[in-house]
Each structure stands twice: as structure tokens, then as C-alpha cells.
């Protein structure tokens, strides 16, 4: 269970929050001008990377406010939390600590218990 620092209430238990998936996916304006493929991309496609991910959270059992977070999906570290109207931090400001492309060691366990 991770701790999340709600920008309005402070640090709270993960169980008070809900995850809202990828952040910065703007709902297209003038959708009538989009073709099926482009509209479908907005409705059905979301990124799911291993590593640094910009995502949305809502403090469901608290202030009910939405906000953004940058999380390392392979370690669950929350690297940055910022309000909806704040600019997202650049990806370069975070170092991806994973050694192999997939983050797994070449041999052994998927839990990477043994240091390579």
C-alpha cells in the first residue's frame, strides 16, 4: 500500500484514492471533424509503459479532487505530484533506473531480487 501526497489534503493512504489512467489525454474538440481512426485512438488507446508514466489520480474518499502524478510503474515510486493546471515536469527530469529494456534481470527471478 503506497502513500500518496494529495496536493489538497497531504499524505494519505492509497486506499483513499482511485487511479484515472494516463494523464494529458485531452478530449478532442470538434470531434465531428475527426475520422473514426483518430476518434477511436482517443477513446480506446492508452499508454501502459514499464517505467515512467504520467497518470491521473482522484482523492475519492477525501476531497474528491483530481490531480496528476508521475509514477515509476515498475517500482511504484511516485516521483512527482502536480495539480491539473500545472505544467507537467519534463520526462528528462527523471532518471529511469531500470537496467535492461524490460527492467528484468537476464536470469533468475522476475522480482529482481539478485543484484546484477
Amino acid at each position: 500500500m503506497i502513500l500518496i501526497n494529495c496536493p489538497y489534503c497531504g499524505e494519505r493512504d492509497q486506499s483513499e484514492f482511485s487511479n484515472g489512467g494516463e494523464a494529458h489525454v485531452a478530449r478532442p474538440e470538434n470531434s465531428e471533424n475527426l475520422n473514426d481512426k483518430d476518434w477511436g485512438r482517443y477513446v480506446f488507446y492508452r499508454d501502459n509503459p514499464k517505467g515512467i508514466f504520467y497518470e491521473r489520480w482522484v482523492h475519492t474518499h477525501g476531497c474528491r479532487k483530481w490531480f496528476n502524478a508521475v509514477r515509476n510503474t515498475s517500482t511504484d515510486e511516485i516521483l512527482k505530484i502536480y495539480k491539473l493546471d500545472e505544467n507537467p515536469p519534463s520526462k528528462e527530469s527523471f532518471t529511469n533506473t531500470l537496467k535492461t529494456p524490460s527492467g528484468e534481470p537476464k536470469v533468475g527471478s522476475g522480482n529482481f531480487t539478485v543484484k546484477k
Binding site: 475527426l34 482522484v58 533468475g108 527471478s109 522480482n111 539478485v114 543484484k115
Partner: protein, 995 residues
């Protein structure tokens, strides 16, 4: 040869306790575990093994025990309890597990003779077919013979949860934990010290390796330390508290046994689950000894050497006065000395190391004490039926000699207990000198101290603690140790010794708990399972409730040898929480029975009970399902009666559970136009409208009625289950997509009770209840609402209907609800007003062709599929899901569309969920798949039409009107012929609705 008391132990004067094991009465001392008490009584056979039903004895003295797992009969029949941990008390009744009919005579032990069948991958290979065998034969047989105890008869244990927010948690109250704690006394930190045993001390109590600390006898030092810690302002000690999980962000779960050594007090909680958030975690949880695989290394009498030592010092029982000691490392020297000091003489000392590694000091001591010893030697195996009789020693790795003894103490080395460290995502590394994995890089604020960090030298531990705690500005107190023996650790790698004998009885085990042999490992690797995670699952190695605590590193050693790889390349399997089994009742805490989930009741709830309502759960709500007129009335009869009466005169439904959301603000109109498909701009104030909410994919998510007070104020109803989600969605769009809109949304579900009265006589009834209101059709037309004063509150009445009859929805504050409900019945009596429940509600709406979200729809249905084109504000520029309604997929003509169906033979009944097809009988044999046209979504017997009516979602349904089709059924041997009709069965012209 048998057990003896440790004459120097404090146990000698302890209180005697009687207890029962497998029905037989024994005596033990207060403070004894089941295991130590049984050893005192020379009970060696305590269990039968999991697969082969081989006789098993106590192997360890702690949480790592793979064999001594028992059932506590007088504690709700609690199964899978570790005999090596559970303390006895007067009258405790304990049974062994996994034996039938008794421990001594076990029928399942025939499995041992059939053992070639039970090799690696046995479950995967054996129980493949034929079809039907699994359910009838395999499963019942496996369940009976491969049991791990019987489930508790009832769920009655009590536990509570407790939260802690602290600065430092110290896991383990042994040497390092206590020293760390003493250095933190009266510092600025809040500290929790968690100890799994009922006393502090760890290694200080488990052995006599350390004599004195700062010139004080260790037992006195522990007492003094405990006193100092208790007197401090900042340190709390929890004993009997086992840390089971070390989660992310320094979140730990510890389970405290409140009844250790005591009988359960029915009025008090038995367990406390501590949920701890900390800034720093100090792991001082020590190490676990591992075994060595040899022939019949599972015979009762084989025990880990340090466990044997623990029994002597902690419990004052010498399990056997002349055991054989077999080791490959330096830790066993103190066991040897302990035995000799007590005047006992080991039958033999077998050491796999050479004389340089053993050292001159120990060799001289062996000679002086006249103990037969064998260096450069190993135990080949042991023999006996229900306990060891002889032990075969391969002397100088060559000649076999036999020694008589009933116990064999074995040590294959010690492993830092890295379980919690790896749970916290710390990385471990292989240490060639220690021949084990030890913590390397912590992932969180984790500090490891003492043997868990791979530091087996007590004197160096003192320096380690000083150094690692210096950043905390801990107190600078120096602790000096006086040791019984120099403790420079050394070890000779040894995982398994070579077998001499070959028979079905001769097995060398790698996992005692799950009955996995070293042969199984070799076979699995041969079959291609050379990745450690695959190998584990294929063989079930280390998958028991002990998680292979004494053997998992050994299996890595054996596998690395087969694969000719380094152990660090083989890697470890994943260490997952919990560290040790914890009962469901501990996890559940107080969230049981009526506290499991909140129950939501309407203000009319107790009236419903008085009137024989049968309830249905709708989300958390308790809703009347139907009302029994008399005790024996069936549901079918009740629903038919309620439905007919409503259409004849009037019926009333408690609709208080309906979700209600108030939308207010300058931009409320624009917001509502975006959220719903409907166009609200031209809608007149004080009118209402049936409205649909879609997802961005164009699929229907929820429906309800929207009341418009004016452009800045709306109230929307939602389905009973959908209210929280609809409110959350509204909030989400307001905050994330349209923050420029000035709108507030708020749940008012529980602020208003709702009654739905409908039927031809409903107008007359409400006119009598609310005498000041003009309910005439001209003044109060369909889909309008009025708000007026009623007593000291306001009532809102909307003319709407979910039955197709003339109807009114009455909204009133809950404190007046019951009184108003009774008043309506008072005036309704003359009209035979009937209360009805959700089942009649569903039937009546189906007669009228109204859909239920979640019944006709399933997240793949658009408004067009339901012929709701009229509800789509096509002229609106945008609303949620609008663009999706013109996607190529949503505009397909062969999508499933809503139709009505009725059986051609009016006496037949169509079942919900059945398939609609074109053929009366399935062809035999089926050569090409029979085309599936759709499914029946709702079906009822209509009392008003006196035959079955059903709704179905059929591919291209709109074009199938009037067609004859067939519906599968669970009775009879052919499909039911049906006709596709309009889904509106009653009053298609809406005469009743608007009159």
C-alpha cells in the same frame, strides 16, 4: 537413550500443565510450546507427510517448521498451527494432521510405495483425463489424502486492527534489536520494537553463545534492557508480534497473538493486526538454519542443530542425550559444548569440513571429551521405521560405518532471513564465504543489523550497529560482549550427500512440507524446467505454508550444480508476503457479519418488514423484492397479484434508493447538455425528461429522469446502483475537461425519500393526501413536476411512470417519509392500493417495453440499438459519446437490437439468458455452427396478458419483426417457437400514461 531436562534451566521449577495430543494426556511446563512439551515426553512421531504419508517428527524450534503442523481442537478447530510456536496451556487439545485413521497406522502411507507415480509434475501429468474424472474421482481422492488439516467448523475468532505511525520500527528483539533499541532510548524518535516470541532475547536465549554483555549475565541484561525500554518515553514493545509483510513506503503488517500461552477468552480479541507506517525500518530478524539432503533425511529424529540447541536453552529440554551431530560449518560447536557441559555425550560428531577449517581448538576439545568424531565425512543416510535407529556415516568420503542413535542434529549452514528485506524490494547478493544470499541494496529506508545482514560475528555486530545507526544520532553507548567461543564463521559448501541404497523407501528430501525429493528437482530440470520459477511450480518445491524456509537455498544449490551455473546466476524465486500464514479472521478484523459492508435501509424499512416484505440486495441497499400477502404465498403468486392490482387500481413502490444528484450553477444547462444525450435547452422549467448518459464509446452507462427547475438548477435521478459512479463521472468531467464551467454537483440520494405510486386510481389517492394540489391532467400533465409546502417541509411531486400507468413520484425529506407513506395507505385503502417490490416493478416495466440498464444493456448497447434515436440531441454540437454513435461499428445494421418476443404456444415460458436461433432442433451431428441471433434479456409471465412476454437483443432485430424464431430452453428436448414483436406489450399508444 531419551530426552532429559536441562538441569540448569529455569523450567525445572515451572508450573506443570496437562494437555492432550491425539487424545492422549501429557504433562508439560508453563511456557512450553506443543513441540517442546512433546519432546519432553519422548514423542517423536507428530505428523504424516503431505504426499507420501511418511512418518515425520519435529524438525525445528520455530516458525520455519515444515513437519510439526497441527490442529487445535479447542480453538475453533484451528488448522495448520505450528507446534513449534504455539504455547500450551491447561486443557489445550491438539491433533496431528494428514493421517487416517491414526498417526501410527496410516493407510495413506501406501502412497510411499506408489511413489514412482508421484514424481515431479505429478499433478500436471496424471490428472489429464478422461473427461469427468477430475470432478468425480481425482479431486475427492486428492482432497481426502493430501489434506493440510480440516477447515475450522465455524468462523468465530475475533481480531482487531490497529494503526501506527512511527519513526522507527525494529523487527526482532534479539541481540541487535535490543542494542539498537537501547541506543534509541529517549531520543526524538517514536520507536516500535516487534518481537515474534513471548520474550525478548533471540540468540541470547536460544543458545549459550554469548555469556555476558558489559559484564552482566545475558539473562539479567535482557531483563535490565526490557525495564529500560519500558521506562522510556519513546519506545513501545510488542511481543508475540510477527511481522508478516513489509510493503512499499515502509508499510509493515504485524500480527500479534493476544492469547499466547493462554486459553481464548471469548469476550476479548485473540489477534491484533498492526498496520504500521514508519520512516525507517531496522531489520534485526536474524537468520534461519538450513538442512542438508541425505537418504531419509525426513525420518523422525532428524532435527536442525540450532533448533536442538534452542530446545536445550529456551525450553530446558534435551530432546536426546546422545544424538549424532552432522555439520558443515562452525555454528554447531556450541551445541556440542552445551551437551557436554550438561554431562551428556553425543554419539558422534560428523563434520564435512577438513581439519584446517574445523580448527585445532575444536579438534582438541573433541579428543579431550572422548567423542567419536569424523572429519572430512558426511552422513549418507539413516534408517528406522518411525524413528531413527542407525545412522550411516561416510567416513573420509569413503567407507560407510554405522552409528546407533535416535536423533541426528544437522546443520547445512545459516541463511540471513532475507524474506522481509526482499519483500521490501531490496536486492540481495550471493556471498561465497557465507555460502548464502545476503541483503545488498535496500530499496526503502531499511537498515539490516546482525545476522540478517550477513554479519555472523557478534563482536563485529556491535561495530555494525554503531556505524549504521550513527546517522540517527543514536546514543553513544558501548556494549562489550563476552563470548563462550570465538565465533569466526566458516563453512564447507554441501547440499546433498550421495546415496548408497536404492529402494522406494530411500528418499532424499529437498522440501519436507510438500514432499519434494532431490530426484524430483533433477527430473524437472531434465524435462526442461531449468528456470527456478518454473521449477518451483512444476515440482511444488518451497510452495508449502513454510515457503521452504529451511530448504529453498539448498534447492538453488542443487539446481546450480545440475545446470553447472553459479547460484547467483540461478537467482532466487520471489519472496511474497505473508512471511508466515495468518488466519483470515486476522485480515477480516471487525469487518465481519453485519459489519462486513454497510447496509442501507430506507425510512420505510421497518414498515416493509411488518408487511411481510422479502428483501433483495441492490448494491448496499435492502429493497423489498415482493410482499407476501400471507405467509405461504409464493413469489410467483405475490408478483402476479401485485402486478395485476397495480394496473387495476393502484400500487406503490418505495423508490428511496434511487440515486439523486443536484446540479446547480451558472453553467448548469451547458453541463447537462454535455453529460446527457438529451437536449435540455428548449425544455421548459418545471418539466422533466427521461435521459440517457453514455460513455465516450457511445454505450449506455446510466439512465434516469432529469428535472429542470431553470437553466441554473437541475435534479437528475440515476439507477439505484449507478449513483456513485454517475456523480464521480460528473465531477471528473467538471474538473478535468471543463474546468471553465461553473457548476456544483452533489448527491442528495439520502436527503429525499421517493415513492412511486401508479395505476388508474393513483390520481384520486394523491388528491386525497395532498388536498391543496390540483392533480388534473390540464394542470399537472405528464412529465411535469411541482414543489409545494407540506407541514414544515417541502414536497416535490413529479408526474412520471415506470409502469406505463398514470403515476406520480413523490419526493419528501426522510424524517416525514414514513408518516406520509402511512397516510397514502390510509387514503389508498378504499382503492385496494397495494405495496409492490422490485420484481413487480420489473414485470410492469417489461409489459410496457421499458428497459433496465444492466439487464437489456451490458456495456455494448447504444441508444440506437434500443431504438432510442428520439432521445439523442442530434443538433447539439457535442455530448459525451456523440462522435462514437457514428462510428462504422456503432452504425452497423446487424448490431443486436431490442425486440419483444412471445411464445407461439401461449402456455410456454421463455427463460432469461437463453439463446435465440433459427432452428427448432439442433442438427445432429452439428457440422457447421448454428448461428446465434441473440439472447433473451428479460422474461416474465404477464398477469395482464396472461402469457409470457420477453425482451431480447437480436442481431438486426428491427428487420426481424413478425419472424418466427426459436429460443433454447432448459426443459424439453426442443427449442421453443416464438414470434418477434414490438417490445411494447401494453398500451402502445400511451393512453394510460398521459390521461
Amino acid at each position: 537413550m531419551s530426552a532429559a531436562d536441562n538441569k540448569k534451566s529455569h523450567y525445572i521449577n515451572a508450573k506443570e500443565i496437562s494437555f492432550k495430543f491425539d487424545g492422549k494426556k501429557y504433562l508439560g511446563y508453563k511456557g512450553d510450546t506443543i513441540a517442546s512439551a512433546l519432546l519432553r515426553n519422548n514423542v517423536r512421531l507428530v505428523a504424516r507427510s503431505f504426499k507420501y504419508h511418511r512418518p515425520r517428527g519435529l524438525y525445528t524450534c520455530g516458525i520455519e517448521e515444515p513437519n510439526g503442523i497441527v490442529q487445535i481442537l479447542n480453538e475453533h478447530n484451528e488448522p495448520n498451527t505450528r507446534a513449534t510456536v504455539k504455547q500450551i496451556y491447561e486443557g489445550i487439545r491438539v491433533n496431528s494432521q494428514n493421517r487416517w485413521p491414526s498417526l501410527n497406522l496410516d493407510v495413506g502411507s501406501i502412497n510411499n510405495l506408489l511413489s514412482p507415480m508421484f514424481s515431479a509434475g505429478f499433478y500436471y501429468k496424471t490428472f489429464m483425463g478422461p473427461k469427468g474424472f477430475w470432478k468425480k474421482i481425482y479431486e475427492p481422492v486428492i482432497r481426502r489424502t493430501a489434506g493440510l488439516g480440516k477447515p475450522p467448523k465455524e468462523f468465530r475468532s475475533k481480531s482487531v486492527h490497529q494503526n501506527h505511525n512511527v519513526d522507527i520500527v525494529i523487527v526482532g528483539g534479539g541481540l541487535s534489536g535490543l542494542i539498537a533499541a537501547r541506543k534509541l532510548i529517549d531520543t526524538e524518535y517514536d520507536v516500535l520494537l516487534l518481537e515474534q516470541d513471548s520474550f525478548l532475547g533471540g540468540i541470547l536465549k536460544n543458545s549459550n553463545k554469548i555469556k555476558k554483555i558489559n559484564n552482566i549475565d545475558v539473562n539479567k541484561w535482557i531483563k535490565e534492557t526490557e525495564k529500560l525500554l519500558k521506562a522510556s518515553k519513546n519506545i513501545k514493545i510488542f511481543k508475540n508480534s510477527l511481522v508478516t509483510s513489509y510493503n512499499f513506503t515502509n508499510h509493515l503488517i504485524a500480527l500479534e497473538d493476544k492469547c499466547a500461552g493462554k486459553e481464548i477468552n471469548k469476550d476479548k480479541s485473540e489477534l491484533t493486526l498492526h498496520k504500521i507506517r514508519t520512516t525507517h525500518t531496522i531489520l534485526a530478524n536474524g537468520h534461519i538454519e538450513r538442512f542438508i539432503s541425505f537418504r531419509n533425511n525426513d525420518l523422525p529424529g532428524v532435527m536442525l542443530a540450532s533448533s536442538f540447541e534452542k530446545y536445550i536453552h529456551r525450553y530446558g529440554v534435551v530432546p536426546e542425550t546422545s544424538p549424532v551431530i552432522f555439520t558443515n560449518n562452525s555454528t554447531t560447536a556450541t551445541l556440542l559444548k552445551s551437551l557436554i557441559d550438561l554431562g551428556h555425550k553425543p554419539a558422534a560428531y560428523v563434520d564435512a569440513r577438513d581439519k584446517d577449517k574445523i580448527g585445532k581448538k575444536l579438534l582438541d576439545y573433541l579428543k579431550k571429551s572422548n567423542i567419536p568424531f569424523y572429519i572430512n565425512s558426511e552422513v549418507e543416510g539413516c534408517d528406522g521405521s518411525k524413528k531413527i535407529k542407525t545412522i550411516s556415516i561416510r567416513k573420509n568420503k569413503n567407507k560407510i560405518i554405522k552409528v546407533k542413535s535416535s536423533m541426528l542434529c544437522v546443520s547445512g549452514g545459516i541463511n540471513p532471513d532475507i524474506h522481509l528485506f526482499t519483500q521490501s524490494k531490496g536486492l540481495v547478493k550471493w556471498d561465497d564465504k557465507l555460502v548464502t544470499f545476503k541483503p545488498d541494496v535496500p530499496f526503502q529506508n531499511t537498515i539490516t543489523l546482525g545476522s540478517v545482514s550477513g554479519n555472523y560475528n557478534y563482536e563485529k555486530t556491535i561495530d555494525e550497529i554503531d556505524q549504521k545507526l550513527s546517522f540517527l544520532k543514536a546514543k553513544n553507548i558501548r556494549f562489550n560482549l563476552e563470548l563462550n567461543d570465538s565465533n569466526n564463521f566458516n563453512i564447507q559448501e554441501l547440499w546433498e550427500t550421495k546415496h548408497e541404497k536404492k529402494s522406494n523407501w530411500s528418499k532424499s528430501f529437498i522440501d519436507l512440507h510438500n514432499d519434494v525429493t532431490t530426484k524430483d528437482l533433477k527430473q524437472a530440470v531434465k524435462e526442461g524446467f531449468d528456470r527456478i520459477e518454473h521449477l518451483k511450480r512444476f515440482t511444488t518445491n518451497s510452495m508449502g505454508t513454510d515457503q521452504g524456509k529451511i530448504s529453498s537455498i539448498n534447492s538453488l544449490g542443487i539446481v546450480s550444480k545440475i545446470l553447472k551455473k553459479k547460484i547467483s546466476e540461478v537467482g532466487t524465486t520471489t519472496y511474497r508476503p505473508p512471511y508466515a500464514p495468518l488466519s483470515f479472521s486476522a485480515i477480516a478484523g471487525r469487518n465481519t457479519y453485519e459489519f462486513y459492508d454497510p447496509q442501507r435501509k430506507t425510512p420505510i424499512h421497518y414498515w416493509h418488514i411488518e408487511n411481510k416484505a422479502v428483501f433483495e440486495d441492490v448494491g448496499q441497499w435492502k429493497r423489498p423484492w415482493y410482499f407476501k400477502k400471507f405467509e405461504t404465498e409464493s413469489m410467483h403468486l405475490a408478483v402476479q397479484r401485485e402486478s395485476a392490482q397495480t394496473r387495476k387500481t393502484a400500487g406503490i413502490l418505495d423508490g428511496s434508493t434511487l440515486g439523486k444528484i443536484e446540479v446547480k450553477g451558472k453553467d448548469a444547462l451547458e453541463f447537462m447538455n454535455l453529460m446527457y444525450t438529451n437536449a435540455f435547452t428548449k425544455m421548459k422549467p418545471m418539466t422533466s425528461r427521461y435521459a440517457l448518459m453514455l460513455g465516450e464509446d457511445g454505450m449506455i452507462k446510466d439512465d434516469g429522469i432529469v428535472c429542470k427547475f431553470n437553466d441554473k438548477h437541475f435534479i437528475a435521478t440515476t439507477t439505484s446502483g449507478g449513483a456513485p459512479k454517475v456523480l464521480a463521472d460528473m465531477e471528473e468531467y467538471l474538473q478535468t475537461e471543463w474546468p471553465h464551467l461553473q457548476v456544483f454537483v452533489n448527491s442528495i440520494t439520502e436527503q429525499f425519500s421517493t415513492f412511486n405510486i401508479s395505476g388508474p386510481k393513483s390520481r384520486e389517492i394523491v388528491s386525497k393526501v395532498f388536498t391543496d394540489v390540483d392533480f388534473s391532467n390540464e394542470n399537472f400533465p405528464f412529465m411535469t413536476f411541482k414543489v409545494f409546502d407540506y407541514k414544515d417541509t417541502e414536497v416535490r411531486i413529479m408526474r412520471a411512470s415506470f409502469t406505463g400507468e398514470l403515476g406520480y413520484e413523490i419526493y419528501i425529506t426522510p424524517n416525514h417519509a414514513l408518516e406520509l407513506w402511512k397516510k397514502i395507505f390510509h387514503y389508498g385503502k378504499a382503492y385496494d392500493l397495494v405495496p409492490y417490490g422490485t420484481e413487480t416493478m420489473h414485470l410492469l416495466r417489461a409489459e410496457k417495453g421499458y428497459v433496465v440498464i444492466g439487464q437489456e444493456t451490458d456495456g455494448t448497447v447504444t441508444p440506437i440499438d434500443l431504438n432510442f434515436n428520439w432521445m439523442i440531441g442530434k443538433k447539439k454540437k457535442d455530448f459525451i459519446g456523440k462522435r462514437s454513435l457514428t462510428r462504422s461499428d456503432t452504425s452497423r445494421e446487424d448490431r443486436k437490437q431490442l425486440v419483444g418476443i412471445i411464445p407461439l404456444d401461449k402456455s410456454e415460458f421463455i427463460e432469461e439468458g437463453q439463446h435465440v436461433v433459427e432452428c427448432e432442433r439442433l442438427p445432429k451431428p452439428i457440422k457447421t455452427p448454428v448461428e446465434y441471433l441473440g439472447h433473451v434479456s428479460s422474461s416474465y409471465h404477464s398477469p395482464n396478458l396472461n402469457h409470457c412476454i420477453a425482451m431480447a437483443m437480436l442481431k438486426g432485430g428491427n428487420k426481424l419483426m413478425g419472424r418466427k424464431l426459436f429460443v433454447s430452453s432448459t426443459y424439453g428436448n426442443k427449442n421453443i417457437p416464438v414470434e418477434v414483436v414490438s417490445p411494447v406489450f401494453i398500451d402502445p399508444e400511451n393512453k394510460r400514461l398521459v390521461s
